[in-house]
Symmetry: C2
Subunit: 383 residues, 2 copies
DNA sequence: CCCGCATCTGACAACGTTGTCCAGGCTCTA
DNA sequence: TAGAGCCTGGACAACGTTGTCAGATGCGGG
């Protein structure tokens, strides 16, 4: 059934197995450029493509009709007698024919698919976002192709360009990098593009983000309102836009309250649990420990919750991003929640409005956050 | 830049806007058949495809070389002088050319993409699974197209067939339905296929599942070992294979202990939080309430944890599937954990081995589960 | 000077589908 | 029954790419 001698190496093999004379492609070109494939293996056995899938021609031959008639039946176009249609449908069923959308795309110019590039599919924040995008795409008859950038700008670009090469009709991108000029030719060529969660860099495009600054400011102000003055902040690298905004919100709230932030209260750029744990413990130790912590994202929050569970209770906590079961912990975890699904839905809807042509100038949309009080953020200062 | 008069309706428009004479396609054909598109709108403005993207021909003209030479440069094939390559590369950069993979696919027969059909991308169980599949795909140079079936067999089939029409090289499917004969022509045509989490129906294919039966049996036996005899079971519809297997495990453990299961101890097919809540409350009420509950999946577990938190403590709980922060609750939630990432990784690796041709007969792989004791499952019976 | 050889280049067909266009047969009317 | 008009069906080109193959060029040796 399967050709046991061939090996899987899609889109990469060249005709001669002879590599002697291959030039190593120069990489010193600037800007937008084609990166040649790098892997080379033995050429595949020729022929036998798609495992010899039947084509419309085969169906036509079997049904004793013309090619175009089959096409008409397959696409439900008018102009075929019931009798002819029956014959064609019979041939289709008998042969197990399935239309080849690659060829269709080539002809029609639309792929009915959109690309989604996010940071990590496994992150619970992106699940609902991804699903929301999918639902909107589905409503518009489009499929979703997605990939994780793993927070690596190069990988983001690689992914985005691969999607463009497949001629996705549109792109929803959660940027990892901060320079998206590489997308200019694509946008010019008509690829609808929306950036989500973080703004695009160096390019004018639609952006859908949460109010990271306002959310963080409100969250920290909430702690201040409950009497805290020494408030710690643990967040991601400030080169990530959301992290920077939330840090800015923290600073703004502190400044509004006339509090001078100590350097030892802030931990930036640590995300792996072990180092977050150490950062939190340091803040909570010493002669003048923080009495509250504001955490910059869901992963940090989870770790800090663990740390606080081990320490003598007392330190208050407000986290950015909601986490599951937060209401069941004692105390419940107060969070600044953003609506991941709404981000995805809004972005996707804008994308399809671009494709409809009902959208003109790029815009920046900011969705509000919501402070959810559950207990941990309402604890009074212990010291 | 964008044509403001066109509307987005990919792959669906027919030439005449005239619908008068359209036959409604008969649907009484059995088995595998082509479903014609159903939506019809005004025809798009012709021409201007891809927003006039440059093609290799354009690049060739600009660089003053032949078509094939451009192809050679783009694909890093040998046999081009550095000078010629420079000129071509310059033209590519100037025009913002990007290879059209649709055409490439049409020519080469491989799409370098695999499809993943799962139940719900937003479910935290599928995030890591999906990510794992993606990583393996990436290692093999393939992209991931995925869709959610929402537990609807018809939608599953629709999705799978759409992916096949796009000629994905392989499919990883988490089945919603129990009859996959519709895939026969595809498998025969060489589409590699692996089913995950639940077995395929009516078709001989690779399957990767967790040991749902054994895991559930062990979990329930764990409760029995801690002195429980009246143990409730709340699970999903038994038509879902995993749910049926876990129920079977529950029954087996009870039988092994010589306990006769009462009908009122079991709640099958309820998943929405409200009804799960009611089911749990009923089990916990009455003259002879259950002293422990075994929950059939993560969503049910979460709801039952909420219910138990409100009730006078005492009922023990073991849940199938791990949940985040389970260790921080008081008591911690004891679970039968399955490794979602391992499921995805194993399935994807098998898929690519099929594509390599190094795999012969379809096989069923069962991954072990792990009992994680955290407290809730070790509580003694209260009554 | 011519031949052989190696290297580089380009013309051309093919991949499977859809849009265009025309032909042939039918019905309906005058 | 002829002519007009409609309905059905099919031949053909085109979409953008890659594989095949043959032509062009340059070089060294006889």
């Amino acid at each position: 059934m399967l050709d046991a001698t061939s090996s899987y190496n899609p889109m990469t093999d060249t005709s001669p197995a002879d590599n002697r004379s291959r030039r190593t492609p120069v990489d010193d070109m600037t800007g937008h450029r084609i990166v040649p494939d790098t892997t080379r293996r033995a050429a595949r056995t020729p022929g036998n493509r798609y495992g010899n899938r039947p084509t419309m021609k085969d169906v036509a031959a079997r049904a004793g009709v013309g090619l175009k008639t089959v096409s008409r039946v397959v696409n439900g176009e008018p102009g075929v007698t019931p009798e002819t249609e029956r014959r064609v449908q019979e041939a289709i069923d008998a042969l197990g024919f399935r239309r080849n959308d690659s060829a269709r795309v080539l002809r029609k110019g639309r792929t009915a698919s959109i690309g989604l590039v996010l940071e990590d599919l496994a992150d619970p924040f992106y699940g609902p976002l991804s699903r929301a995008v999918e639902e909107v795409a589905r409503a518009h008859g489009a499929l979703l192709i997605n990939g994780s950038s793993a927070e690596d700008p190069e990988r983001e670009q690689e992914l985005v360009l691969a999607l463009c090469a497949r001629r996705v009709d549109g792109l929803v991108v959660i940027p990892a990098g901060d320079d998206h000029r590489y997308l200019e030719p694509e946008v010019k060529a008509g690829v609808a593009t929306v950036f989500v969660d973080r703004p695009a860099g160096q390019i004018d495009a639609d952006v859908v983000v949460s109010d990271n600054f306002g959310g963080a400011r409100d969250g920290v102000a909430h702690l201040i309102a409950h009497g805290h003055r020494r408030i710690g902040f643990i967040g991601d690298m400030p080169r990530i836009h959301t992290a920077a905004e939330r840090l800015r919100g923290y600073r703004a709230a502190m400044e509004d309250a006339g509090i001078t932030v100590q350097g030892s209260w802030m931990s930036l750029g640590v995300t792996d649990p072990e180092r977050v744990r150490r950062a939190a413990e340091e803040m909570l130790a010493g002669p003048r420990p923080v009495t509250a912590i504001f955490t910059g994202n869901n992963r940090v929050t989870v770790t800090v919750v663990r740390v606080l569970a081990e320490h003598p209770p007392g330190a208050a906590l407000v986290g950015f991003d909601d986490i599951e079961l937060a209401d069941l912990l004692r105390p419940g975890v107060t969070v600044v929640a953003q609506d991941a699904a709404a981000l995805g839905r809004t972005a996707a809807e804008r994308l399809f409005r671009q494709l409809d042509g009902t959208l003109l100038a790029p815009e920046r949309i900011e969705l509000p956050t919501r402070l959810v009080t559950r207990g941990s953020g309402e604890l009074p200062p212990a010291h």
